[in-house]
Amino acid sequence: MSTLASAGFWEFVGVVAGIYTILALGIQLQFGFAGLLNFGQVAFMAIGAYTMAILVVKEGWSTWLAAPLGVAAAAVGGLVLGLPTLRLRSDYFAIVTIAFSEIVRYVAMNEDALTGGSQGTIALGPVGQAAQYNGQWAQFQHRMQAWLGLPSADATMLVIVWLAALALLASAWAVLRTPWGRVLRSIREDEDAAASLGKNAFAYKLQALALGAALAGVAGLFYAWQFSYFSPDDFAPLLTFFAWMIVLLGGLGRVFAVPVGAVVFGFIFAGTRFLGFAPFSWFASDQRAYLRLIIIGLVILALVVLRPQGLLGKREEMVLE
C-alpha cells in the first residue's frame, strides 16, 4: 500500500494523464468533430519525439527550435498520410492508418543510423556514448521547480504538462466554435450536404487530420522529456487504443470531456496495479499485468455496449455508430 499512498506515484499518474489528454484531444478533433477514423495516432507522437531528439543530438540544435520542428514534422506526417488516403472509404482509411503507424515504428526500429534502432534514443550518438536529448529541458524544468517552489521534478512536470494541456484544450474549444469548426461538424454529419454548399470537404478533413497529428506531436515531446529515453516499442498501436478509450470514456464531440476521460483512464490503469485482493491476489505480479489489460479491454467493450456517448457525451449531438 505504500506506493499507493505516496504523492510521487500520483504525480506520475497525473503527468501521464496530461500527456494522454493532449494525444487524445487530437483524436477528439479528428473523430469527434471531423468523423475521421484515425487509428494511427501514435505514429505522429513518434514522429514528434524522434524529430526533436534527432535534431538535438545529431544536429546540435537548441531544444527550443527542435521542439516546434518536431510538432511541424508530425503535422506534415498527417498531410502525407491524408493526401492519398482521405478519399478512401472510412473502413479502408481506418486500416490504412494502423498500417501507417506500424510502418513508422518499423522504420524507427530498423534505421539504426537515423533513430538508434531498437536500442532507442540512447544509441542516437556515436558508438559507446549514451546520447542525451533533454539537457536543456532538464535545466528549464529545474528553474521552473525552483521558481514555483515545488518539491520534485515530477510535480513540476505535472504543472507544466497540465498548463500546456489546458492551453491546448482552450484553443481547440475556441477554434471549434469558429465557422471552421461548424463546417467540420457539418462534414461529419453529412459530407454531401456540406459539399453541395461549396465547402471543400477534403481540405477540411485534411486540416483536421494534420491538426490532430500536431497535437500528437506535442504529446510526443512531453513523453520524451518525461522519460528521458524512448525506443520504438514505446509507440506500439496499444497507445493509440488507449487514446481512443479516453475519448470514448469522456464523451464524443466535447473538448473538455477529454481530460475527464484521461484522468479516469489514468486511475483505472494505474489503480489496477494494486489489485492486491482476491481474485487478483491469486496471480503473480507479471500475470497481473495481463489482467490490467484485460480490464482495459472489458471497459472498452462495456462502453461500446452500454454507454456509446461516453461519460459526458451529449446523446443528441453524437453517439458512436
Partner: protein
Amino acid sequence: MFSQLVVNGLVTGSVYAIAAVGVSLVYGILRLVNFAYGDMMAFGALVAYGCNGPLRQSMVVAALAGMAATALLALALDVALWKPLRARRAGFMSLFLASIGLALVLRQALLLAAGPQPEAYRVDPYRVFVIGSVRLSEAQTIAVATAAAAIVVVALFLARTTAGRVLRAMADDRTLAAVAGIDVARATRLAWAISGLLAGLAGVLAGLVEYSFTPDFGFQLLLPVFAAVVLGGIGSAYGALAGGLALGLAEELSTWSGFAGGVDPVYKPVVAFVLLALALLLRPQGLFGRARVA
C-alpha cells in the same frame, strides 16, 4: 534463388489467403472489421499446441481440434457480444472498437493462460525436402499442401454449394438477400463458424511456418491479413484469396536481388503496406471490390 522465393511466397501467401477469407466472410455478412481475428488465430494455434505438445496427439488431430475450438469460440462470441450489438443496430464504428476491446481481452487471456514463452509444434525443423533448386522444410510442406487443399475447398464451397451462394448473396446485398427469403440468422452463424475454422487453420499453419510462436503472435499476422483483405476489396472472398497470395509473393519477391538489388528482408512487412497503398491509389475500392460510396 528466384524459384525458392516464389515457393516461400506461396507458403506465406497461402496462410494470409486463408485468414483473409475468414475476415472477409464475416465482413461481407456483418460489416464487421474484426480486429480480434489475429488473436482468434493465436487461440487456434495454442489449442492445437496443447493437443500436439502436452497431450502428444498427431499434428492432424491437433489442427482439427484447434479449428473446432476456434469455431466454437467464434460462435460463442457471436451470442455473447455481436448479437446484442446487432440488436442495438450498432454501426461500423462501434463494432470496430468492440473488436479492439475483444482483441485486448483475448490476447491477454491467452498470455495469462499459456505464459509468454514461445511454443513449437512437434515437427522436425531439420527435415528438408529438396525439389530441384527449391528447399522446403517439413512444416512448410505441410502448410502449403494443407493451405492449397483448404483454398480449393473454400473456393468450391463458395462457388458450388447453396450455403456458399447464400453467403455471397448476403455479402452482395444484405437487404435483397433477406427479401429473397434467406435465413439471415442461420447464414450469420454459418459465416462465424467458417470464419472460426479458417482462423484456427491459419493460426496452426502460421505457427508451423514460423516454427515457434508466442500467444500474442496473432497481432503481427493481423496487419498483413487486413492488407490482403483490403487489396482484394473488403467483403470479396475471392478477392481475399487472391490478395493473400499476391501479398505473400510480393513480400518474398521484394527481397530478390534481381529486383533492383532487393529490399532488406527486415522491411518485408512494410512491402505489404506499400503495395496496399499503391493499389488503393489506383483502385480505391480494392482489386475486386465494387466502387461504392459508404
